[in-house]
Amino acid sequence: MSEVLVVVEATQEFGVKKVTLEMLTLARGLGTPSAVVLGGPGAAEALSAKLGEYGAAKIYAAESAEIDGYLVAPKATVLAELVTRVQPAAVLLASAQEGKEIAARLAVKLDNGILTDVVGLDADGTATQVVFAGSTIVKSKVTRGLPLVTVRPNSVTPEPAAATPAVEQLTVSVPAADKLARVVNRVAEQKGSRPELTEASVVVSGGRGVGTADNFKLVEELADLLGGAVGASRAAVDSGYYPHQFQVGQTGKTVSPQLYIALGISGAIQHRAGMQTSKTIIAVNKDGEAPIFELADFGVVGDLFKVVPQTAEEIRKRR
Protein backbone atom coordinates (compact mmCIF):
# COMPACT_ATOMS: atom_id res chain seq x y z
CA MET A 1 0.00 0.00 0.00
CA SER A 2 1.15 3.48 -0.73
CA GLU A 3 2.50 5.74 1.93
CA VAL A 4 0.56 8.70 3.35
CA LEU A 5 2.56 11.39 5.15
CA VAL A 6 1.08 12.82 8.34
CA VAL A 7 2.89 15.85 9.73
CA VAL A 8 2.80 15.52 13.52
CA GLU A 9 1.42 18.29 15.72
CA ALA A 10 2.63 18.02 19.28
CA THR A 11 3.35 20.16 22.30
CA GLN A 12 6.10 19.70 24.84
CA GLU A 13 3.57 19.63 27.63
CA PHE A 14 0.93 17.26 26.27
CA GLY A 15 2.84 15.33 23.59
CA VAL A 16 1.03 14.26 20.41
CA LYS A 17 -2.05 16.38 19.78
CA LYS A 18 -5.41 14.74 19.15
CA VAL A 19 -5.59 16.16 15.62
CA THR A 20 -2.50 14.07 14.79
CA LEU A 21 -4.33 10.92 15.86
CA GLU A 22 -7.29 12.01 13.73
CA MET A 23 -4.97 12.46 10.76
CA LEU A 24 -3.43 9.01 11.28
CA THR A 25 -6.97 7.59 11.34
CA LEU A 26 -7.93 9.44 8.13
CA ALA A 27 -4.65 8.49 6.46
CA ARG A 28 -5.41 4.77 6.86
CA GLY A 29 -8.29 5.26 4.45
CA LEU A 30 -5.82 6.24 1.72
CA GLY A 31 -2.82 4.05 2.45
CA THR A 32 -0.24 3.33 5.13
CA PRO A 33 0.44 6.28 7.41
CA SER A 34 3.96 7.53 8.02
CA ALA A 35 4.35 10.19 10.69
CA VAL A 36 6.69 13.10 10.05
CA VAL A 37 8.16 14.80 13.11
CA LEU A 38 9.66 18.23 12.42
CA GLY A 39 11.27 19.67 15.51
CA GLY A 40 14.24 20.21 17.72
CA PRO A 41 16.80 17.53 18.68
CA GLY A 42 15.19 14.49 20.33
CA ALA A 43 11.65 15.53 19.34
CA ALA A 44 10.56 12.18 17.88
CA GLU A 45 11.50 9.82 20.66
CA ALA A 46 8.91 11.02 23.14
CA LEU A 47 6.17 10.78 20.51
CA SER A 48 6.86 7.46 18.81
CA ALA A 49 4.88 5.18 21.16
CA LYS A 50 1.68 7.18 20.71
CA LEU A 51 2.16 7.50 16.95
CA GLY A 52 2.61 3.71 16.70
CA GLU A 53 -0.50 3.12 18.77
CA TYR A 54 -2.55 4.95 16.13
CA GLY A 55 -1.08 3.21 13.14
CA ALA A 56 2.08 5.02 12.10
CA ALA A 57 4.04 2.32 10.28
CA LYS A 58 7.05 4.57 9.97
CA ILE A 59 8.33 7.76 11.54
CA TYR A 60 10.46 10.26 9.67
CA ALA A 61 12.32 12.40 12.15
CA ALA A 62 13.79 15.73 11.10
CA GLU A 63 15.40 17.05 14.25
CA SER A 64 17.51 20.15 14.34
CA ALA A 65 17.82 23.36 16.33
CA GLU A 66 17.55 25.16 12.99
CA ILE A 67 14.05 23.77 12.43
CA ASP A 68 12.93 25.24 15.72
CA GLY A 69 14.89 28.44 15.36
CA TYR A 70 13.23 29.86 12.25
CA LEU A 71 9.59 30.33 11.37
CA VAL A 72 7.98 27.58 9.24
CA ALA A 73 10.22 27.79 6.15
CA PRO A 74 12.77 25.08 7.20
CA LYS A 75 9.94 22.64 7.92
CA ALA A 76 8.51 23.14 4.43
CA THR A 77 11.91 22.57 2.84
CA VAL A 78 12.48 19.29 4.71
CA LEU A 79 8.96 18.14 3.90
CA ALA A 80 9.28 19.02 0.22
CA GLU A 81 12.46 16.94 -0.04
CA LEU A 82 10.74 14.01 1.65
CA VAL A 83 7.67 14.23 -0.59
CA THR A 84 9.83 14.35 -3.70
CA ARG A 85 11.78 11.28 -2.54
CA VAL A 86 9.00 8.98 -1.27
CA GLN A 87 6.18 10.12 -3.61
CA PRO A 88 3.39 9.60 -1.06
CA ALA A 89 -0.28 9.10 -1.93
CA ALA A 90 -1.20 12.18 0.13
CA VAL A 91 0.16 14.65 2.67
CA LEU A 92 -1.89 15.59 5.74
CA LEU A 93 -1.20 18.49 8.10
CA ALA A 94 -3.21 20.03 10.93
CA SER A 95 -5.49 22.89 10.00
CA ALA A 96 -3.96 25.25 12.51
CA GLN A 97 -1.84 28.32 11.86
CA GLU A 98 1.48 26.54 11.41
CA GLY A 99 0.13 23.47 9.63
CA LYS A 100 -1.54 25.70 7.05
CA GLU A 101 1.63 27.74 6.64
CA ILE A 102 3.86 24.72 6.08
CA ALA A 103 1.30 23.41 3.59
CA ALA A 104 1.23 26.80 1.85
CA ARG A 105 4.97 26.76 1.21
CA LEU A 106 4.89 23.11 0.21
CA ALA A 107 2.17 23.87 -2.35
CA VAL A 108 4.33 26.57 -3.95
CA LYS A 109 7.51 24.47 -3.88
CA LEU A 110 5.78 21.51 -5.54
CA ASP A 111 3.33 23.56 -7.65
CA ASN A 112 0.64 21.48 -6.01
CA GLY A 113 -2.97 22.24 -5.08
CA ILE A 114 -3.99 22.60 -1.44
CA LEU A 115 -7.22 22.15 0.54
CA THR A 116 -7.59 23.53 4.06
CA ASP A 117 -10.04 22.93 6.92
CA VAL A 118 -10.85 19.45 5.68
CA VAL A 119 -13.26 17.44 7.85
CA GLY A 120 -13.42 14.24 5.78
CA LEU A 121 -11.27 12.52 3.18
CA ASP A 122 -12.29 9.73 0.79
CA ALA A 123 -9.97 7.02 -0.55
CA ASP A 124 -9.79 8.82 -3.92
CA GLY A 125 -8.66 12.05 -2.29
CA THR A 126 -12.04 13.80 -2.40
CA ALA A 127 -12.20 16.10 0.61
CA THR A 128 -15.16 17.44 2.55
CA GLN A 129 -15.00 21.01 3.82
CA VAL A 130 -17.50 23.06 5.80
CA VAL A 131 -17.45 26.71 4.76
CA PHE A 132 -19.24 30.02 5.30
CA ALA A 133 -19.70 29.79 9.04
CA GLY A 134 -20.70 26.15 8.93
CA SER A 135 -23.58 26.81 6.54
CA THR A 136 -22.27 25.09 3.41
CA ILE A 137 -20.73 21.67 2.79
CA VAL A 138 -18.25 21.43 -0.06
CA LYS A 139 -16.71 18.42 -1.79
CA SER A 140 -13.41 19.28 -3.40
CA LYS A 141 -10.30 17.78 -4.86
CA VAL A 142 -6.72 18.72 -5.57
CA THR A 143 -6.43 18.67 -9.36
CA ARG A 144 -2.71 19.30 -9.66
CA GLY A 145 -0.29 17.06 -7.79
CA LEU A 146 -1.08 14.89 -4.79
CA PRO A 147 -3.81 15.48 -2.21
CA LEU A 148 -2.26 18.08 0.11
CA VAL A 149 -4.78 18.76 2.83
CA THR A 150 -4.97 20.34 6.25
CA VAL A 151 -7.36 18.62 8.66
CA ARG A 152 -9.54 20.52 11.09
CA PRO A 153 -9.35 19.26 14.71
CA ASN A 154 -12.37 17.30 16.02
CA SER A 155 -13.33 16.09 12.54
CA VAL A 156 -13.07 12.33 13.09
CA THR A 157 -12.82 10.02 16.07
CA PRO A 158 -9.25 8.75 16.47
CA GLU A 159 -9.10 4.98 16.21
CA PRO A 160 -6.11 3.03 17.53
CA ALA A 161 -4.41 0.52 15.19
CA ALA A 162 -1.23 -0.76 16.74
CA ALA A 163 1.92 -0.63 14.66
CA THR A 164 5.60 -0.71 15.49
CA PRO A 165 7.08 2.21 13.64
CA ALA A 166 10.63 2.19 12.37
CA VAL A 167 12.28 5.57 12.85
CA GLU A 168 14.19 7.06 9.95
CA GLN A 169 16.31 10.11 10.72
CA LEU A 170 16.27 12.71 7.96
CA THR A 171 19.29 14.81 7.15
CA VAL A 172 18.42 18.42 7.76
CA SER A 173 20.18 21.14 5.85
CA VAL A 174 18.47 24.49 6.05
CA PRO A 175 19.28 26.90 3.21
CA ALA A 176 19.91 30.59 3.93
CA ALA A 177 16.61 31.51 2.24
CA ASP A 178 14.76 29.70 5.07
CA LYS A 179 16.55 31.61 7.80
CA LEU A 180 14.99 35.01 7.19
CA ALA A 181 12.45 34.96 10.04
CA ARG A 182 14.20 34.12 13.30
CA VAL A 183 12.40 32.96 16.44
CA VAL A 184 13.82 35.10 19.25
CA ASN A 185 11.65 33.87 22.07
CA ARG A 186 8.67 31.64 22.86
CA VAL A 187 6.47 32.81 25.69
CA ALA A 188 3.84 30.60 27.34
CA GLU A 189 0.81 32.51 28.56
CA GLN A 190 -1.78 29.84 29.01
CA LYS A 191 -1.71 28.42 32.50
CA GLY A 192 -3.31 25.35 33.95
CA SER A 193 -4.23 21.98 32.54
CA ARG A 194 -7.28 22.79 30.42
CA PRO A 195 -7.42 21.13 27.02
CA GLU A 196 -6.69 23.24 23.98
CA LEU A 197 -9.72 25.09 22.66
CA THR A 198 -9.88 23.60 19.15
CA GLU A 199 -9.23 20.05 20.37
CA ALA A 200 -11.44 19.99 23.46
CA SER A 201 -14.49 17.72 23.49
CA VAL A 202 -16.26 20.18 25.79
CA VAL A 203 -16.11 23.97 25.43
CA VAL A 204 -17.75 26.42 27.85
CA SER A 205 -17.84 29.97 26.50
CA GLY A 206 -18.77 33.28 28.03
CA GLY A 207 -20.06 36.40 26.34
CA ARG A 208 -20.95 39.97 27.11
CA GLY A 209 -23.47 38.75 29.68
CA VAL A 210 -20.64 37.52 31.90
CA GLY A 211 -20.10 41.20 32.66
CA THR A 212 -16.54 41.38 33.98
CA ALA A 213 -13.18 39.65 33.63
CA ASP A 214 -13.48 38.47 37.21
CA ASN A 215 -16.84 36.82 36.53
CA PHE A 216 -15.16 34.58 33.96
CA LYS A 217 -14.15 32.44 36.96
CA LEU A 218 -17.70 31.12 36.75
CA VAL A 219 -17.14 30.06 33.15
CA GLU A 220 -13.81 28.49 34.07
CA GLU A 221 -15.32 26.61 37.00
CA LEU A 222 -17.96 24.97 34.83
CA ALA A 223 -15.38 24.18 32.14
CA ASP A 224 -13.13 22.52 34.72
CA LEU A 225 -16.00 20.46 36.16
CA LEU A 226 -16.70 19.12 32.66
CA GLY A 227 -13.04 18.71 31.72
CA GLY A 228 -13.48 21.32 29.02
CA ALA A 229 -11.79 24.34 27.51
CA VAL A 230 -12.87 27.93 28.02
CA GLY A 231 -13.94 30.09 25.09
CA ALA A 232 -15.16 33.65 24.75
CA SER A 233 -17.29 35.60 22.31
CA ARG A 234 -15.86 38.56 20.46
CA ALA A 235 -17.91 40.91 22.62
CA ALA A 236 -16.29 39.45 25.74
CA VAL A 237 -12.81 39.65 24.23
CA ASP A 238 -13.31 43.21 22.97
CA SER A 239 -14.52 44.18 26.44
CA GLY A 240 -11.29 42.81 27.88
CA TYR A 241 -12.94 40.00 29.85
CA TYR A 242 -10.82 37.22 28.35
CA PRO A 243 -7.71 36.95 26.10
CA HIS A 244 -8.05 36.92 22.35
CA GLN A 245 -6.58 33.45 21.79
CA PHE A 246 -9.74 32.03 23.34
CA GLN A 247 -12.11 33.88 21.00
CA VAL A 248 -14.59 31.64 19.21
CA GLY A 249 -16.11 32.96 16.00
CA GLN A 250 -15.57 34.35 12.54
CA THR A 251 -12.39 36.18 13.51
CA GLY A 252 -11.34 33.68 16.15
CA LYS A 253 -11.20 29.92 16.53
CA THR A 254 -13.60 27.47 14.95
CA VAL A 255 -14.54 24.73 17.39
CA SER A 256 -16.53 21.57 16.90
CA PRO A 257 -16.73 19.86 20.29
CA GLN A 258 -19.15 17.19 21.48
CA LEU A 259 -20.64 19.73 23.87
CA TYR A 260 -20.70 23.53 23.62
CA ILE A 261 -22.14 25.63 26.42
CA ALA A 262 -22.78 29.32 25.68
CA LEU A 263 -23.16 31.52 28.74
CA GLY A 264 -24.41 35.07 28.29
CA ILE A 265 -23.80 34.91 24.54
CA SER A 266 -26.52 36.31 22.27
CA GLY A 267 -25.37 34.27 19.27
CA ALA A 268 -24.52 36.87 16.65
CA ILE A 269 -23.59 35.37 13.28
CA GLN A 270 -19.96 36.30 14.12
CA HIS A 271 -20.04 33.85 17.01
CA ARG A 272 -22.15 31.17 15.36
CA ALA A 273 -19.54 30.97 12.61
CA GLY A 274 -17.13 29.47 15.10
CA MET A 275 -19.31 26.97 16.92
CA GLN A 276 -22.38 25.86 15.04
CA THR A 277 -20.96 22.51 13.95
CA SER A 278 -20.71 21.48 17.64
CA LYS A 279 -22.56 18.21 18.31
CA THR A 280 -24.66 19.39 21.27
CA ILE A 281 -25.25 23.04 22.14
CA ILE A 282 -26.53 24.42 25.42
CA ALA A 283 -27.29 28.10 26.00
CA VAL A 284 -27.98 30.16 29.07
CA ASN A 285 -29.14 33.71 28.43
CA LYS A 286 -31.51 36.09 30.15
CA ASP A 287 -32.95 37.25 26.83
CA GLY A 288 -35.36 34.57 25.66
CA GLU A 289 -35.27 36.05 22.13
CA ALA A 290 -31.47 35.71 21.78
CA PRO A 291 -30.60 34.00 18.47
CA ILE A 292 -28.35 31.49 20.27
CA PHE A 293 -31.54 29.65 21.31
CA GLU A 294 -32.25 28.89 17.63
CA LEU A 295 -29.23 26.57 17.69
CA ALA A 296 -29.45 25.26 21.20
CA ASP A 297 -30.46 21.68 21.90
CA PHE A 298 -31.18 22.84 25.41
CA GLY A 299 -31.68 26.43 26.49
CA VAL A 300 -32.24 28.08 29.82
CA VAL A 301 -33.75 31.54 29.82
CA GLY A 302 -32.47 33.02 33.02
CA ASP A 303 -29.76 34.78 34.96
CA LEU A 304 -26.48 32.97 34.40
CA PHE A 305 -25.28 34.07 37.84
CA LYS A 306 -28.04 31.92 39.31
CA VAL A 307 -28.16 29.12 36.76
CA VAL A 308 -24.42 28.42 36.47
CA PRO A 309 -23.64 28.09 40.22
CA GLN A 310 -26.63 25.76 40.55
CA THR A 311 -25.39 23.76 37.57
CA ALA A 312 -21.92 23.45 39.11
CA GLU A 313 -23.40 22.45 42.46
CA GLU A 314 -25.64 19.83 40.87
CA ILE A 315 -22.73 18.32 38.88
CA ARG A 316 -20.69 18.04 42.09
CA LYS A 317 -23.63 16.37 43.85
CA ARG A 318 -23.88 13.71 41.18
CA ARG A 319 -20.25 12.66 41.55
Binding site: T11, L71, V72, A73, A96, K100, E101, A104, R105, A107, V108, G113, I114, T116, D117, F132, A133, T136, I137, V138, K139, S140, K141, T143, L180, A181, R182, V183, N185, R186, V187, Q190, E196, T198, V202, H244, Q245, Q250, T251, Q258, L259, Q270, Q276, T277, I281, V284, D297, F298, V300, V301, G302, K306, V307, V308, P309, Q310, T311, E314, I315, R318
Partner: protein, 259 residues
Protein backbone atom coordinates in the same frame (compact mmCIF):
# COMPACT_ATOMS: atom_id res chain seq x y z
CA UNK B 1 9.21 52.81 3.97
CA UNK B 2 7.40 51.61 0.87
CA UNK B 3 4.44 49.61 2.18
CA UNK B 4 1.99 47.57 0.12
CA UNK B 5 -1.19 46.33 1.78
CA UNK B 6 -3.04 43.37 0.28
CA UNK B 7 -6.78 43.92 0.25
CA UNK B 8 -9.53 41.49 -0.69
CA UNK B 9 -13.17 42.16 -1.36
CA UNK B 10 -15.33 39.50 0.27
CA UNK B 11 -19.04 38.85 0.79
CA UNK B 12 -20.18 40.33 4.11
CA UNK B 13 -19.69 37.66 6.78
CA UNK B 14 -22.59 39.14 8.71
CA UNK B 15 -25.07 38.04 6.04
CA UNK B 16 -26.05 34.84 4.27
CA UNK B 17 -23.28 33.69 1.89
CA UNK B 18 -23.49 31.26 -0.99
CA UNK B 19 -21.55 29.48 -3.66
CA UNK B 20 -22.71 29.75 -7.25
CA UNK B 21 -24.50 26.76 -8.69
CA UNK B 22 -22.81 27.00 -12.10
CA UNK B 23 -19.11 27.00 -11.23
CA UNK B 24 -19.04 26.54 -7.43
CA UNK B 25 -17.26 29.85 -6.87
CA UNK B 26 -18.20 32.46 -4.28
CA UNK B 27 -21.43 34.18 -5.27
CA UNK B 28 -20.41 37.83 -5.36
CA UNK B 29 -23.38 38.93 -7.41
CA UNK B 30 -26.02 38.47 -4.74
CA UNK B 31 -23.82 39.34 -1.79
CA UNK B 32 -23.12 42.60 -0.04
CA UNK B 33 -19.43 42.92 -0.87
CA UNK B 34 -17.11 44.53 1.64
CA UNK B 35 -13.41 44.86 2.45
CA UNK B 36 -12.19 41.77 4.26
CA UNK B 37 -12.36 42.87 7.87
CA UNK B 38 -8.86 41.70 8.83
CA UNK B 39 -7.40 43.82 5.99
CA UNK B 40 -8.58 47.00 7.71
CA UNK B 41 -6.21 46.20 10.56
CA UNK B 42 -3.37 45.78 8.05
CA UNK B 43 -4.23 49.16 6.50
CA UNK B 44 -4.29 50.79 9.93
CA UNK B 45 -0.90 49.28 10.79
CA UNK B 46 0.54 50.53 7.48
CA UNK B 47 -0.75 54.05 8.10
CA UNK B 48 0.71 54.07 11.61
CA UNK B 49 4.11 53.02 10.28
CA UNK B 50 3.96 55.68 7.59
CA UNK B 51 3.04 58.31 10.17
CA UNK B 52 5.98 57.30 12.38
CA UNK B 53 8.63 56.57 9.78
CA UNK B 54 7.48 58.22 6.54
CA UNK B 55 6.96 56.48 3.22
CA UNK B 56 4.07 55.52 1.03
CA UNK B 57 1.14 53.11 1.38
CA UNK B 58 -0.15 51.33 -1.72
CA UNK B 59 -3.11 48.98 -1.76
CA UNK B 60 -2.96 45.90 -3.96
CA UNK B 61 -6.03 43.89 -4.81
CA UNK B 62 -6.97 41.20 -7.28
CA UNK B 63 -10.65 40.93 -8.06
CA UNK B 64 -13.47 41.68 -10.45
CA UNK B 65 -14.64 45.12 -11.57
CA UNK B 66 -16.82 45.65 -8.54
CA UNK B 67 -13.76 45.47 -6.24
CA UNK B 68 -13.17 49.11 -7.25
CA UNK B 69 -15.82 50.07 -4.74
CA UNK B 70 -13.90 48.43 -1.90
CA UNK B 71 -10.64 49.96 -3.10
CA UNK B 72 -12.13 53.46 -2.82
CA UNK B 73 -13.45 52.68 0.65
CA UNK B 74 -10.04 51.40 1.72
CA UNK B 75 -8.34 54.47 0.22
CA UNK B 76 -10.62 56.69 2.29
CA UNK B 77 -8.81 55.43 5.42
CA UNK B 78 -5.66 57.14 4.14
CA UNK B 79 -3.47 55.05 1.80
CA UNK B 80 -1.87 56.97 -1.08
CA UNK B 81 -2.82 54.87 -4.08
CA UNK B 82 -3.99 51.48 -5.25
CA UNK B 83 -3.19 48.82 -7.83
CA UNK B 84 -6.01 46.63 -9.07
CA UNK B 85 -5.10 43.40 -10.87
CA UNK B 86 -8.10 43.01 -13.11
CA UNK B 87 -8.57 40.42 -15.82
CA UNK B 88 -11.52 38.25 -16.85
CA UNK B 89 -9.20 35.23 -16.98
CA UNK B 90 -8.67 35.44 -13.19
CA UNK B 91 -12.16 34.23 -12.27
CA UNK B 92 -12.01 30.94 -10.39
CA UNK B 93 -8.34 31.24 -9.37
CA UNK B 94 -7.20 29.00 -6.50
CA UNK B 95 -4.88 30.08 -3.69
CA UNK B 96 -1.76 28.82 -5.47
CA UNK B 97 -2.48 30.80 -8.65
CA UNK B 98 -3.64 33.86 -6.69
CA UNK B 99 -0.28 33.87 -4.94
CA UNK B 100 1.43 33.64 -8.30
CA UNK B 101 -0.44 36.68 -9.64
CA UNK B 102 -0.03 38.80 -6.50
CA UNK B 103 3.67 37.93 -6.34
CA UNK B 104 4.09 39.05 -9.95
CA UNK B 105 2.38 42.34 -9.14
CA UNK B 106 4.46 42.79 -5.98
CA UNK B 107 7.54 42.23 -8.11
CA UNK B 108 6.74 45.51 -9.85
CA UNK B 109 5.93 47.49 -6.70
CA UNK B 110 9.27 47.22 -4.92
CA UNK B 111 7.80 47.02 -1.43
CA UNK B 112 9.91 47.02 1.73
CA UNK B 113 6.95 45.72 3.66
CA UNK B 114 3.89 43.80 2.49
CA UNK B 115 1.10 43.88 5.06
CA UNK B 116 -2.05 41.78 4.96
CA UNK B 117 -4.79 40.36 7.16
CA UNK B 118 -4.02 36.94 8.65
CA UNK B 119 -6.97 35.42 6.80
CA UNK B 120 -10.01 36.39 4.76
CA UNK B 121 -13.47 35.92 6.18
CA UNK B 122 -14.67 34.03 3.10
CA UNK B 123 -12.04 31.36 2.49
CA UNK B 124 -10.27 31.54 5.86
CA UNK B 125 -7.45 29.66 4.17
CA UNK B 126 -4.58 31.61 5.77
CA UNK B 127 -2.00 30.48 3.20
CA UNK B 128 -1.35 33.56 1.03
CA UNK B 129 1.31 35.32 3.15
CA UNK B 130 3.65 32.31 3.19
CA UNK B 131 2.94 31.46 -0.45
CA UNK B 132 3.91 34.98 -1.47
CA UNK B 133 7.00 35.02 0.77
CA UNK B 134 8.06 31.65 -0.66
CA UNK B 135 7.68 32.94 -4.21
CA UNK B 136 9.44 36.26 -3.60
CA UNK B 137 12.16 34.77 -1.40
CA UNK B 138 11.46 37.24 1.41
CA UNK B 139 10.75 36.77 5.11
CA UNK B 140 7.25 36.00 6.35
CA UNK B 141 6.21 37.19 9.80
CA UNK B 142 2.70 35.89 10.22
CA UNK B 143 -0.09 36.02 12.77
CA UNK B 144 1.10 39.26 14.38
CA UNK B 145 -0.68 40.81 17.33
CA UNK B 146 2.10 43.42 17.60
CA UNK B 147 4.58 44.82 15.09
CA UNK B 148 7.57 47.03 15.79
CA UNK B 149 9.72 48.69 13.14
CA UNK B 150 13.29 49.67 13.93
CA UNK B 151 15.05 50.87 10.80
CA UNK B 152 14.96 47.86 8.50
CA UNK B 153 14.32 45.39 11.31
CA UNK B 154 10.79 44.13 11.90
CA UNK B 155 9.77 42.29 15.06
CA UNK B 156 6.39 40.76 15.73
CA UNK B 157 4.59 39.01 18.53
CA UNK B 158 3.04 36.02 16.83
CA UNK B 159 -0.09 34.73 18.55
CA UNK B 160 0.09 30.97 19.25
CA UNK B 161 -2.09 28.49 21.10
CA UNK B 162 0.23 28.53 24.10
CA UNK B 163 1.03 32.24 24.18
CA UNK B 164 3.18 34.09 21.70
CA UNK B 165 6.47 33.93 19.83
CA UNK B 166 8.79 36.85 19.20
CA UNK B 167 9.96 36.68 15.59
CA UNK B 168 12.29 39.05 13.83
CA UNK B 169 13.39 39.68 10.24
CA UNK B 170 14.93 42.31 8.02
CA UNK B 171 12.94 43.98 5.25
CA UNK B 172 11.74 43.16 2.68
CA UNK B 173 9.14 41.02 4.39
CA UNK B 174 5.50 39.95 4.40
CA UNK B 175 3.67 40.55 7.68
CA UNK B 176 0.15 39.27 8.39
CA UNK B 177 -1.87 40.66 11.27
CA UNK B 178 -4.77 39.61 13.51
CA UNK B 179 -7.51 41.96 14.64
CA UNK B 180 -5.86 42.36 18.05
CA UNK B 181 -3.05 44.50 16.64
CA UNK B 182 -4.82 47.88 16.59
CA UNK B 183 -8.14 49.66 16.24
CA UNK B 184 -8.71 50.71 12.62
CA UNK B 185 -9.64 54.35 12.12
CA UNK B 186 -12.93 55.41 10.58
CA UNK B 187 -12.56 57.31 7.31
CA UNK B 188 -13.07 61.04 7.76
CA UNK B 189 -15.23 63.07 5.39
CA UNK B 190 -12.04 64.59 4.05
CA UNK B 191 -10.60 61.11 3.58
CA UNK B 192 -13.67 59.98 1.66
CA UNK B 193 -13.50 63.00 -0.65
CA UNK B 194 -9.73 62.61 -1.17
CA UNK B 195 -10.12 58.88 -1.96
CA UNK B 196 -12.14 59.73 -5.07
CA UNK B 197 -9.11 61.42 -6.62
CA UNK B 198 -6.40 58.99 -5.54
CA UNK B 199 -4.73 57.06 -8.36
CA UNK B 200 -5.95 53.51 -8.95
CA UNK B 201 -3.83 51.69 -11.52
CA UNK B 202 -5.37 48.77 -13.33
CA UNK B 203 -3.01 45.92 -14.16
CA UNK B 204 -4.08 43.30 -16.70
CA UNK B 205 -2.44 39.87 -16.68
CA UNK B 206 -0.47 40.69 -19.82
CA UNK B 207 1.45 43.35 -17.89
CA UNK B 208 2.44 40.78 -15.28
CA UNK B 209 3.88 38.19 -17.63
CA UNK B 210 1.34 35.62 -16.49
CA UNK B 211 -0.52 33.65 -19.17
CA UNK B 212 -4.33 33.36 -18.92
CA UNK B 213 -4.05 29.56 -18.98
CA UNK B 214 -2.01 29.65 -15.75
CA UNK B 215 -4.82 31.27 -13.75
CA UNK B 216 -8.57 31.17 -13.20
CA UNK B 217 -10.55 28.00 -13.74
CA UNK B 218 -8.03 26.90 -16.40
CA UNK B 219 -5.01 27.05 -14.11
CA UNK B 220 -6.64 26.13 -10.79
CA UNK B 221 -4.80 23.48 -8.77
CA UNK B 222 -7.92 22.39 -6.91
CA UNK B 223 -11.60 22.21 -7.75
CA UNK B 224 -14.88 22.27 -5.92
CA UNK B 225 -16.83 19.25 -7.18
CA UNK B 226 -20.14 20.02 -5.52
CA UNK B 227 -21.65 21.96 -2.65
CA UNK B 228 -24.80 21.86 -0.60
CA UNK B 229 -26.40 23.80 2.21
CA UNK B 230 -25.90 22.22 5.59
CA UNK B 231 -29.30 21.54 7.12
CA UNK B 232 -29.96 24.29 9.68
CA UNK B 233 -29.89 23.26 13.31
CA UNK B 234 -33.27 23.02 14.90
CA UNK B 235 -33.78 24.39 18.36
CA UNK B 236 -34.53 21.90 21.11
CA UNK B 237 -35.93 22.35 24.55
CA UNK B 238 -36.06 25.83 26.06
CA UNK B 239 -36.92 26.30 29.71
CA UNK B 240 -37.29 29.44 31.76
CA UNK B 241 -35.40 29.44 35.02
CA UNK B 242 -37.80 29.52 37.91
CA UNK B 243 -35.29 28.42 40.46
CA UNK B 244 -34.38 25.02 39.00
CA UNK B 245 -32.75 26.03 35.69
CA UNK B 246 -29.33 24.74 36.69
CA UNK B 247 -30.74 21.40 37.87
CA UNK B 248 -32.70 21.03 34.64
CA UNK B 249 -29.54 21.79 32.67
CA UNK B 250 -27.67 19.02 34.50
CA UNK B 251 -30.57 16.61 33.91
CA UNK B 252 -30.18 17.30 30.20
CA UNK B 253 -26.40 16.76 30.47
CA UNK B 254 -27.11 13.44 32.21
CA UNK B 255 -29.53 12.32 29.49
CA UNK B 256 -26.84 13.08 26.92
CA UNK B 257 -24.28 11.27 29.12
CA UNK B 258 -22.02 14.29 29.66
CA UNK B 259 -22.21 13.87 33.45
Amino acid sequence: MNIVVLVKQVPDSGADRNLRTDDNTVDRGSANNVINEMDEYAIEEALKIKEAHGGEVTLLTMGPDQATESIRKALSMGPDKAVHVLDDALAGSCAVTTAKVLSAALGQLNADLVLCGAESTDGRVQVLPHMIAERLGVAALTGARKLTVDGGTLTIERQTEEGYEVITAETPAVVSVWDTINEPRYPSFKGIMAAKKKPVQTLPLADLGVAPAEVGHAGATSAVLEHSKRPPRSSGTKVTDEGAGGTQLVEFLATEKFV
